[in-house]
C-alpha cells in the first residue's frame, strides 16, 4: 500500500513539476531571520519582523503602527539595505522618517492616492507590491493600508495575500502590511496588534493652567498570531509588550 502511495505521489509530482516543484514533498521549516524594531522593550518580548514572511501590523488610529513601521525601516535602511513603501493613502511623512533615522535615499516610496481613471488606490497598491516583491532585493517591503477603510480592505481577494506569501517566502525580504484589522488570514506568519495606552503631556503649565506639549505616547503591542516559532513556542495572544515613544521635539 505504501509503495503504491509513493508511486502515486511521484506521478503527481512529475505531472505538476513545471507548475509546482515538489508539490507533495515535505519541506522542513527553516530557521527564519528577523529584523528587530530597535525599541528595547519590544525587542525583549517580540521576535521582531520575520524575513521571508508576511507580517501584519494592525490597530486603530494613533495606536503606534506608523512608529513601528518607521522603526523597522530605520533598522533596514541603516544597515545599507533598501526598503520599499507602497503607500495606499500617501500618508508617509518624510520628516517623521528622518526624525526616526530612516535613510530616505534607500527608501523607495510609491504613492498610490492620486486618482486613476480605472484603478482604486488599493488596486494600485496591490499591483505595486506585486512588482516590487517579484523584483526582489528589498530588505523590507511595507504595504500601508492604515487609512483604508476596513470595509474596503476586507474586499481584497485572498489570492493576493496567498501570492504575496508565496513570493516572499523564498527571499530575504519582509513583507509588512499596515492596516486597521488583520485581513491576510492564514497567509500572514505573524500578526502584531497595537493599541494606544495613554499620552503624556508636559507637566509644566502655562499661566492659565493648560498643559504645554505632547511629549510621548505609551503603546501596547501584542502578537495575536504567530505561525513560526523561534526557540520555545509561545501561545499566541500571550506575547505582549508595553513601550513608550517620545515625540520628536521632546528631546
Amino acid at each position: 500500500m505504501s509503495s503504491q502511495a509513493s508511486i502515486l505521489r511521484t506521478q503527481i509530482e512529475a505531472v505538476l513539476a513545471n507548475r509546482i516543484p515538489g508539490a507533495l514533498t515535505f519541506r522542513p521549516a527553516i530557521e527564519t531571520e528577523t529584523i528587530s524594531f530597535g525599541i528595547p522593550e519590544l525587542d525583549q518580548q517580540l521576535v521582531g519582523i520575520l524575513r521571508g514572511c508576511l507580517t501584519e501590523i494592525c490597530g486603530p488610529a494613533s495606536s503606534g503602527r506608523t512608529t513601528l513601521m518607521l522603526a523597522a525601516m530605520r533598522e533596514v535602511t541603516q544597515r545599507g539595505e533598501c526598503c520599499a513603501l507602497v503607500d495606499a493613502s500617501s500618508a508617509f511623512d518624510p520628516h517623521s522618517g528622518a526624525a526616526n533615522g530612516v535613510k530616505l535615499k534607500n527608501l523607495l516610496v510609491v504613492r498610490c492616492a492620486a486618482p486613476h481613471f480605472k484603478l482604486t488606490p488599493v488596486d494600485k497598491a496591490l499591483h505595486a507590491v506585486d512588482m516590487i516583491v517579484s523584483h526582489g532585493g528589498f530588505g523590507l517591503i511595507v504595504l500601508d493600508l492604515g487609512d483604508i477603510k476596513p470595509q474596503l480592505a476586507q474586499k481584497i481577494p485572498l489570492h493576493h495575500w496567498y501570492r504575496f506569501r508565496r513570493a516572499v517566502e523564498s527571499t530575504n525580504s519582509c513583507l509588512v502590511v499596515i492596516e486597521q484589522h488583520p485581513f491576510a488570514k492564514s497567509c500572514s506568519a505573524q500578526v502584531i496588534s497595537l493599541q494606544s495606552c495613554d499620552s503624556e503631556w508636559a507637566t509644566a503649565r502655562d499661566q492659565i493652567g493648560r498643559p504645554k506639549l505632547l511629549t510621548g505616547i505609551r503603546y501596547v503591542a501584542e502578537v495575536t498570531r504567530s505561525r513560526i516559532a523561534l526557540g520555545q513556542r509561545k501561545p499566541p495572544g500571550c506575547v505582549g509588550a508595553q513601550f513608550r515613544i517620545a515625540t520628536p521635539w521632546a528631546g
Binding site: G38, P60, A61, S62, R65, T66, T67, L70, Q78, R79, G80, E81, C82, S89, S90, A91, F92, D93, P94, H95, G97, A98, A99, N100, L104, K105, N106, L107, L108, V109, V110, R111, C112, A113, A114, L119, K124, H127, A128, M131, I132, H135, G136, G137, G139, D147, S196, S199, W201, D206, R210, P211, K212, L213, L214, G216, I245, A246, T247, P248
Partner: protein, 502 residues
C-alpha cells in the same frame, strides 16, 4: 612625446566625394553662402584647370561649364565622424582641433603599431581605404606636427626645425597685417622668421610675433589637450509604410537596439543614455505646413547604471512610449546611445543585499506607469520650515558598503501620518482653545491639547503659509481616543487636520 597630425586638404570636397565618388571625374565647384550671393568655396583640379578660383560667384563658375554643388554641412559632419573614428582606432588620446585637422598622441604605441613612421603610414593607408586623401605628419610637439601636415603632402616625419624652414609663412595662420609686414621685410618662409632677432621682433610685432617665431622654430606654444571621448552609437531605420502600432514599432526598435548593444559590447562599453527620435507622418491638409513638433518626436531614456541589455532598453522605451505616445504614425526611427565605461561593482560577502541596479530602472519605470511619474522615487526634504516641504527624487540607493555601516543609534520617535491633502474639518475653537472636532462623519471632544503654535513664511511668493497649529487628543463618542495635529489656515480662516500621531 610624439604627436601625429592628420590634415585633410579640401575637406568639403573630400566629404562630397566620399558620399558620391562618381563625381571625382567631373569638374566640380562647391558653393556656399546666402542666395543669390553664392560663392565658390572649393574646386577640384579639373575645375581649377577651367579657371575656377575660390571666391568666384556661382554664375561666373557656371559660365565656364563646371558642375556646381551646394556645400552640405551634414556630409562634412559625417566625414568628420569617420575621420575621428579612424584616429581613435589608433590612439585613445585625440584632440579634435578643426573639422579638417586632428592631432593624436602616439606615445607608447610602438609595441602595438611599430615605430612612428609605420604608425603614420598605417594611419595614412587606413584613411585612404575610407577614400580620404590626407597629409600625416609626425613631430615632437603638436604644433610642429600641424605645420608639417599642412605643408607636406602624404606622410612626413619632422625631426628638427630645419625641415619646416622651407615652408611658406601663410601656414602659420597670420593676420593679413602681419603677413604684409613680414613680406615687406622680405620674409616669405618659416626659416626666415625663425632667424630674426627675438627682441627686435618683439619690439615690432609684440608678443604675437614672438609666438609666431616660436612656431617657426619648431617650438610648442599650445598645449595638447586630449578630448573627452564622447562615443555615440547611432542606428536608424526608414520604413516603407508608416507604423502606428506599438507592437510593430517594438519589433523595429528591437533590431535597432540589438545592433547598438552589439557595437557597445564590441567596444567593451555600455550606455546610460539613449535618445530616440521618430519622424512622424501626421494627416496633412493640402497647402498647410505643419510645425516641427508635429513632424518629429524626440525622447531620452536615462539610466543610473550603464547597461548593454537590449531587453531592458526596449522595455524602458516601450513604457516611455506608453506614457508619452507620439501624436501620429511613424515613418523613420533613429536611436543614439551615449557610450560610457561599464560599472563593475565588487560585492562583498557580507555586503547587504540590494536590488539589481540594472533592473531597478525598469521597476521604477513600471511603477511610474502604474501610479504616475511623480509618485515614485525617494523623498527629499527641502531646506525650509514650510509644512510638507519635500519633493520626489529619482530612487538611487546608496549601495556603497562603506556608507552602509551604522554610524549612530537612533531612538524611535512618534510618527505622523499625513492626510493628503489636509482634511477639512469642523473644529470648534474658543479663545485659541480647540473644544470639539468633527470630520468624516464622526466627532469627538478634545480632551488634551497644546497651546497654539504660530507658523508663517514664504509670504513673498505663491507658496506663502500662515497657520496656527495645535496637537490635540480627541475622545470620540465610541470611547476611542486619537491624537491629531490640527491647524487653522489664517489666510482663509479654515480649520484642517494635518495628520494623526500614530
Amino acid at each position: 612625446m610624439l604627436f601625429v597630425t592628420i590634415f585633410v586638404p579640401k575637406f568639403s570636397l573630400q566629404a562630397l566625394f566620399i558620399k558620391r565618388p562618381e563625381l571625382q571625374s567631373e569638374p566640380i565647384a562647391l558653393v556656399d553662402g546666402t542666395p543669390p550671393m553664392l560663392k565658390v568655396i572649393a574646386a577640384n583640379e579639373r575645375a581649377c584647370k577651367l579657371g575656377v578660383e575660390i571666391g568666384l560667384m556661382k554664375a561666373q563658375a557656371e559660365a565656364v561649364g563646371v558642375h556646381i554643388i551646394q556645400r552640405s554641412v551634414e556630409l562634412e559632419d559625417a566625414a568628420h565622424v569617420l575621420l575621428l573614428g579612424c584616429a581613435r582606432s589608433f590612439s585613445p588620446r585625440v584632440q579634435d582641433k578643426a573639422i579638417d585637422l586632428i592631432v593624436l598622441d602616439i606615445d607608447g604605441l610602438k609595441s602595438l603599431f611599430g615605430p612612428p613612421e609605420q604608425i603614420a603610414a598605417k594611419i595614412h593607408s587606413s584613411l585612404l581605404r575610407e577614400r580620404f586623401t590626407v597629409n600625416v605628419a609626425v613631430a615632437g610637439n603638436p604644433d610642429s606636427a600641424t605645420i608639417g601636415a599642412r605643408g607636406y603632402e602624404g606622410v612626413s616625419i619632422i625631426s628638427d626645425a630645419a625641415q619646416i624652414s622651407r615652408l611658406p609663412l601663410p601656414l602659420l595662420d597670420l593676420s593679413s597685417a602681419q603677413l604684409e609686414t613680414l613680406n615687406l621685410w622680405g620674409i616669405t618662409t618659416l626659416g626666415g622668421l625663425a632667424s630674426l632677432d627675438p627682441k627686435a621682433l618683439s619690439q615690432r610685432l609684440g608678443h604675437e610675433g614672438v609666438q609666431l617665431q616660436k612656431l617657426a622654430r619648431g617650438q610648442q606654444i599650445t598645449p595638447f589637450v586630449a578630448d573627452e571621448e564622447q562615443i555615440e552609437f547611432h542606428e536608424r531605420s526608414e520604413l516603407e509604410y508608416s507604423i502606428d502600432l506599438l507592437d510593430s514599432l517594438s519589433f523595429v526598435l528591437s533590431s535597432l537596439l540589438e545592433r547598438i548593444c552589439a557595437k557597445l559590447k564590441d567596444h567593451s562599453l555600455a550606455t546610460n543614455e539613449v535618445d530616440y527620435e521618430f519622424a512622424l507622418d501626421p494627416p496633412r491638409i493640402a497647402g498647410q505646413d505643419l510645425p516641427e513638433e508635429q513632424l518629429a518626436y524626440r525622447r531620452t531614456i536615462k539610466l543610473p547604471n550603464p547597461t548593454t541589455d537590449r531587453t531592458l532598453l526596449l522595455r524602458l522605451i516601450q513604457l516611455d512610449l506608453q506614457a508619452h505616445p507620439p501624436g501620429a504614425a511613424i515613418q523613420k526611427i533613429s536611436a543614439r546611445a551615449h557610450a560610457v565605461r561599464p560599472r563593475h561593482i565588487q560585492q562583498g560577502l557580507f555586503a547587504p543585499h540590494t536590488p539589481d541596479p540594472g533592473k531597478l530602472e525598469l521597476l521604477t519605470a513600471r511603477l511610474a506607469d502604474l501610479v504616475g511619474k511623480h509618485e515614485v522615487g525617494s523623498l527629499e526634504l527641502l531646506d525650509t520650515h514650510r509644512p510638507r516641504a519635500f519633493v520626489m527624487a529619482r530612487f538611487e540607493p546608496e549601495t556603497d558598503p562603506a556608507t552602509s555601516t551604522r554610524s549612530r543609534s537612533w531612538p524611535s520617535r512618534v510618527g505622523l501620518r499625513l492626510f493628503d491633502p489636509a482634511k477639512r474639518a469642523n473644529i470648534r475653537i474658543r479663545s485659541d482653545v480647540p473644544l470639539r472636532l468633527s470630520f468624516d462623519g464622526k466627532s469627538g471632544d478634545v480632551i488634551q491639547h497644546s497651546p497654539p503654535w504660530l507658523a508663517s513664511g514664504d509670504w513673498w511668493n505663491e507658496m506663502g503659509y500662515d497657520r496656527k497649529e495645535w496637537d490635540v487628543e480627541v475622545q470620540f463618542a465610541d470611547g476611542t481616543k486619537a491624537k491629531y495635529r490640527i491647524f487653522l489656515d489664517l489666510f482663509t480662516n479654515q480649520p484642517f487636520i494635518d495628520g494623526s500621531y500614530d
